[in-house]
């Protein structure tokens, strides 16, 4: 009985997700965050398997948006569509629109390389380039984009300081990126992304491999970063979503079930499915 009701409520009436988003924005109107990115009926496939079903979600500027939902519901796929990383997987494709400052990044003639320059990404598993030194890892993005900073040391220091890693590595900058601990590697990857000064930072479970101390540092970091960056973070950790995010989007089997201000979503979820998930009844 419950299941039937829940699935009815979660059924995708195209307006519902959008309505929730709009009312969330209306409530946040006091601080009036502009919309940085917006997906419109975004769908994604791996081969014939449709993993995102018409997701419409807006991502406010200089705010943290958390994406939550049970494993396999399409969270990673969703954020990988936001910087066109989804399409690099063989057999993967997508449909619908993703607006970045009002321009559809899937429009003909838009270069995915330039999109990724503006929309940076930190992956679930830290992946520094092991053949490069720590400093070169930080500078890799700039070099790839043909930027030769006049004072590379300053760029390295600034990015590493932002990622709360500078003090730990300032004396070993020429060591391999792979010589760091897992948590340090993840912060190095964050520094590498920040060095490019993207406008949006996507983080896919950045803390899943980290201990509580490293996790706390990254959460602190997210707090500091949101003055300058628009952040989208995927997390399995409800407390983390509640701590770091301003807005939360709940996904279930490829659909956006509910989206709104984090406080509201966690205290007064509108959908039964959301409530079940955040109270730990499934997933």
């Amino acid at each position: 009985m419950m299941a039937v009701e829940a699935s009815r409520e979660a059924a995708p009436t195209p307006g519902s997700a959008g309505d929730t988003a709009r009312s969330a924005e209306a409530r946040a109107a006091a601080t009036a965050p502009a919309v940085k990115m917006q997906t419109e009926a975004l769908r994604a496939w791996f081969g014939a398997h449709e993993v995102l079903k018409a997701v419409s979600l807006s991502i406010p500027e200089r705010r943290v948006t958390a994406v939550i939902g049970p494993s396999g519901c399409g969270k990673s796929t969703f954020i990988r569509c936001l910087n066109r990383m989804h399409e690099v997987v063989p057999g993967a494709r997508s449909a619908g629109a993703v607006l970045l400052d009002g321009v559809d990044i899937f429009e003909r003639g838009v270069d995915p390389v330039l999109v990724r320059r503006r929309v940076g990404m930190v992956f679930q598993r830290a992946n520094p380039f092991p053949a490069m030194s720590i400093a070169d890892n930080v500078l890799a993005g700039l070099r790839l984009n043909g930027v030769r900073p006049r004072h590379p040391e300053e760029v390295v220091e600034r990015a590493l300081a932002q990622a709360a890693l500078w003090d730990e590595v300032k004396d070993i900058l020429s060591r391999s990126g792979a010589s760091l601990s897992g948590g340090q590697q993840q912060r190095l990857c964050i520094a590498r992304t920040l060095a490019l000064e993207p406008e949006v930072v996507l983080m896919d479970e950045p803390c899943s491999a980290l201990d509580p101390i490293a996790t706390a540092r990254i959460e602190e970091l997210i707090h500091e970063l949101k003055d300058r960056y628009t952040i989208v973070i995927v997390t399995h950790n409800m407390q983390q979503a509640a701590r770091v995010s301003d807005f939360t989007a709940f996904f279930y089997i490829g659909e956006l079930v509910e989206h709104g201000e984090t406080d509201a979503l966690f205290t007064r979820p509108q959908k039964a499915r959301t409530e079940d998930y955040i109270t730990g009844r499934f997933g």
């Binding site: 390389v113 992956f123 598993r125 992946n127």
Partner: protein, 332 residues
């Protein structure tokens, strides 16, 4: 003819793994019997190899005693006067192999990058298959192609053009014959290209996708991704692939013998006929009349045996290292 590929390399890694399992106490009787048999086979192969080495040393003993180290530097090879020096063949082997590498390596690495990184997904498997097929063509077929197509083409088109443009260099002097060092190097290049390309491709495919994604997410183009995320990790394995190719080039016999011109001379010109360690053995073994002549040929064989063995072991260590460091995890 040994045609190493990544599959062999992976198999080559298993004996040590089974050795550890074999020494473990938890294995049951069936396992232990199996591992015992496997270990016996592995030792058998090593013993056969050692036996071969000993036998070749024995066969070349009279030549080793007669010429000593001078055998390596002596440039005369005159069976009639029983004067045997290996220098022309060492020279021919090294030059033809290096020529082959110089031509084949850039092309093979390019092919590997294309197959592993750039080709559309539907093309990758069939194209890789074709490249591997090329490695399986018998060398005598390459040789025939060399005789009927490559050598005439070199004689009538390439060599006159090279002589006209670069004839002032000693490498491109002398009459255009077609058959000679250039033909030998080219045919070797064509023969080792598939080996180098397919092993390099396997090594690149084994580079974890996460590095590629890291580069792409930083705004790298696909070509930059190859440079930043793939090649640095595949480097050791590609070097291994090149050494495997070199090992094959050094030992390749049939096709080279058919096009290299077979003359025991050291000439600066790539147009001149030459001979390699392998080609002279194949050419002269049947007609070697005296014991010393046979021993000298055996000593050439011994040198070839030692060099290719060392190169292959080195190459396998390099390629194996990459395979172990990067278990082919794909997808994110």
């Amino acid at each position: 003819m040994q045609r190493p590929n990544a599959l062999d390399l992976r198999r080559a890694l298993t004996p040590s793994a089974s050795f550890w399992a074999w020494t473990g106490t938890e294995a049951n009787l069936g396992d232990r019997l199996f591992h015992g048999a496997a270990a016996l086979c592995a030792f058998g192969v090593v013993a056969a190899l050692a036996g071969m080495g000993v036998e070749m040393i024995r066969a070349s003993l009279s030549s080793i005693e007669r010429f000593g180290l001078g055998f390596v530097t002596e440039v005369t090879w005159d069976p009639v006067r029983e004067l045997f020096g290996a220098a022309p063949f060492i020279f021919g082997t090294i030059v033809s192999s290096l020529l082959a590498l110089a031509i084949a390596v850039p092309v093979a690495v390019g092919v590997a990058i294309f197959l592993a990184e750039l080709a559309p997904a539907w093309l990758r498997t069939p194209a890789s298959f074709v490249v591997e097929l090329l490695a399986a063509i018998p060398s005598v077929v390459y040789g025939l192609w060399g005789v009927f197509v490559l050598a005439p083409w070199l004689r009538d088109t390439v060599q006159p053009a090279l002589a006209a443009a670069l004839g002032f260099l000693p490498f491109f002097g002398g009459p255009a014959r077609g058959f000679g060092m250039l033909a030998g190097g080219l045919i070797l290049a064509i023969m080792i290209l598939p080996t180098i390309a397919s092993v390099s491709r396997d090594v690149m495919v084994a580079v974890p996708t996460s590095y590629r994604e890291a580069a792409l997410a930083l705004g790298a183009t696909r070509f930059e991704t190859v440079q930043v995320a793939v090649l640095p990790h595949a480097k050791a394995g590609i070097v291994g692939a090149v050494i495997l190719g070199l090992g094959r080039a050094l030992g390749e016999t049939m096709a080279v013998t058919m096009v290299i011109g077979n003359r025991a001379e050291i000439s600066a010109s790539l147009f001149a006929p030459a001979a390699t360690l392998a080609s002279v053995i194949a050419n002269e073994y049947a007609e070697a009349t005296s014991d010393l002549y046979l021993a000298a040929l055996s000593e050439l064989g011994l040198m070839l045996f030692a060099v290719t063995l060392i190169l292959n072991i080195g190459a396998r260590l390099l390629v194996g290292k990459v395979g172990r460091a990067a278990p082919g995890v794909r997808g994110g």
